[in-house]
Amino acid sequence: LMNIFERKAEAKAPYVRLVEVTEDTTDPAEWGKNWPKQYDSYKRTALSTRTRFGGHGGSEALPEEKIERDPWLKRMFLGYAFSIDYRDRRGHAYMLSDQESTERLSKPQSGSCMHCHAAIMPVYRALGDGDALVGMNKTHKMSYQELNKMVHDMGHGHSVSCVDCHDPDSMALRVTRPAFIVGIQKLAESDAPVPAIPSIDIWRQGSRKTPYDPNVDATRGEMRSFACGQCHVEYYCSSGMPLTFPWANGLTMDGAEKEWNETEIKGERFYDYKHKESGAEILKAQHPEFELWSQGIHARSGVACADCHMPYMRDGASKVSDHWVRSPLLNVNRACQVCHHIPEAEILARVDSIQQKNFDLLQRGGAALMDLLDAVQTAKDAGATPEQLKPALELQRKAQWRLDYIAAENSMGFHAPQEAARILGEAADYARQGQVEALKLLK
């Protein structure tokens, strides 16, 4: 019963290979000779697109115009490179050049930045004598410029490329990025609940002799999100330690906060920057799409990133995954309506209602944070000591972490609506508590 299908499919030889591609073929154009349909759509990531909240905006922030309108974001980032420059977020085709041209590089950045912005795997292997993880662990101490030059010199100066997600022999989906593999293994070894990743639960029930290997243990459905989880995640990336995904306590906002709080760098509790006005030790959040998605109903239901961001499209007699990765709102019929048989207008209205609520809560949290900063300033002016200010500044850290977590996440909370609202509710509460602490110093 099994083998008749098997035979038929084999006979059909799904694709004709015109050129050979290997682990070192990072130029997507080469792969495009074998898989022109996927390549054609991949190239369209160079087109610019825009939705209300999507397709634009600084990576860790709100749409550019918003920043002018909402100065609280800028003030929140005072002391960090991110307050220097926000560029429009764009399609995958631009990831390397956008990074190279950001003015944030006017401050020295670590080589870790390259992990998610180029087809870097052959370079990691070269640095690690064949072992990519060893190689990666050497790059955080290199300067961005140094590693960037190496990538270009070795001929791998491309954006995320086919080889980053596909096995060149079988074309199977896979993950390559060492930081992801280390991160997901930490997660597997913890006992944090993982409703969105059942294969970890299965692995946990086994002998645990070999570490959880996403390329072996994960289901195909899970791989359709893991491929994106290689980059669309919260991280720490600086010269202090190798690129780290904070998943040892689970994929939640709270879990990551715990991990950062327990991390020490040079004997000090970890922080990304000291706030220029208040002096608080701030945690910066970056695009936790994978993490927020994992807390939502879609993830629990097995709906993967690729389902919405790379839906199948009909191309002649066959169907292919749309490699024009972009906002699903530009593509509602294929991205949503296969599962939700409701009119496009209603789907957009649902998304808008979800995003609007989170946007309003974000603004509310921002206002609270500004009041906290004002109160701290007043207390300082009145002579409060750093010791006295500590409780207020701890609360600033907590509040900003939560606010930024959702501001930096790129779906305006769509990926997990209630969870996003919960996080923003906590943010406002902590910011106000901080304001109260600062005010108390005036008595």
């Binding site: 499919a9 195909r220 389902d307 169907k319 599962c339 048989h341």
Partner: protein, 170 residues
């Protein structure tokens, strides 16, 4: 699959007899189980909702129950019938099955194979050569509505009144 026909016939009979006993078998029109006519399935009132929803589905004109739910090869088909026949009859007799009925395990695999066997031309690119991989991309993950119309979880939004029923009860 080296079973000979006698063995199969035995398996079929055994499945049915063990599950039902002659009375239920007749009562439930068990013989119709060997038919490919969708009406045969609906002889069990418990299958009525699926029959009705199938009639409204996109595949109504191109595929009947057995096209989707039973293996397409002769041998495997009758083994599956015997096995399912056992479950169905037992369930129907004892009324001890889980409601609502939800497809599971082996039957899901059969279904998947049947989607692919009709649509191979369109989807072979998604399979990297091996469409029997148990971990293949699941068709009903996205196309759950093909056999029985839109699922209740995507029931077309709030009723806009188009199909308003009369005020009185039937």
């Amino acid at each position: 699959m080296a079973l000979d026909k006698k063995l199969i016939a035995l398996a079929v009979l055994l499945g049915i007899l063990v599950g039902t006993g002659a009375f239920t078998f007749r009562y439930a029109e068990g013989l119709s189980y060997f038919s490919t006519d969708p009406k045969a399935c609906a002889n069990c009132h418990i299958m009525t909702p699926q029959y009705d929803s199938w009639q409204k589905s996109s595949h109504h004109t191109v595929a009947g129950c057995v096209d989707c739910h039973l293996p397409h090869t002769f041998i495997a088909k009758y083994i599956a019938k015997a096995e399912n026949g056992y479950h169905h009859s037992k369930g129907f007799t004892l009324q001890d099955f889980h409601e609502p009925i939800m497809i599971k395990g082996k039957n899901q695999k059969i279904l998947q194979h049947n989607c692919v066997s009709c649509h191979e031309d369109m989807v072979h690119g998604l399979f990297r050569g091996d469409i029997t991989n148990p971990d293949a991309v699941s068709c009903v993950h996205c196309h759950a509505s093909v056999g029985h119309g839109a699922l209740p979880t995507s029931i077309g939004g709030a009723d806009r009144g188009e199909n308003r029923e009369g005020n009185s009860h039937e």
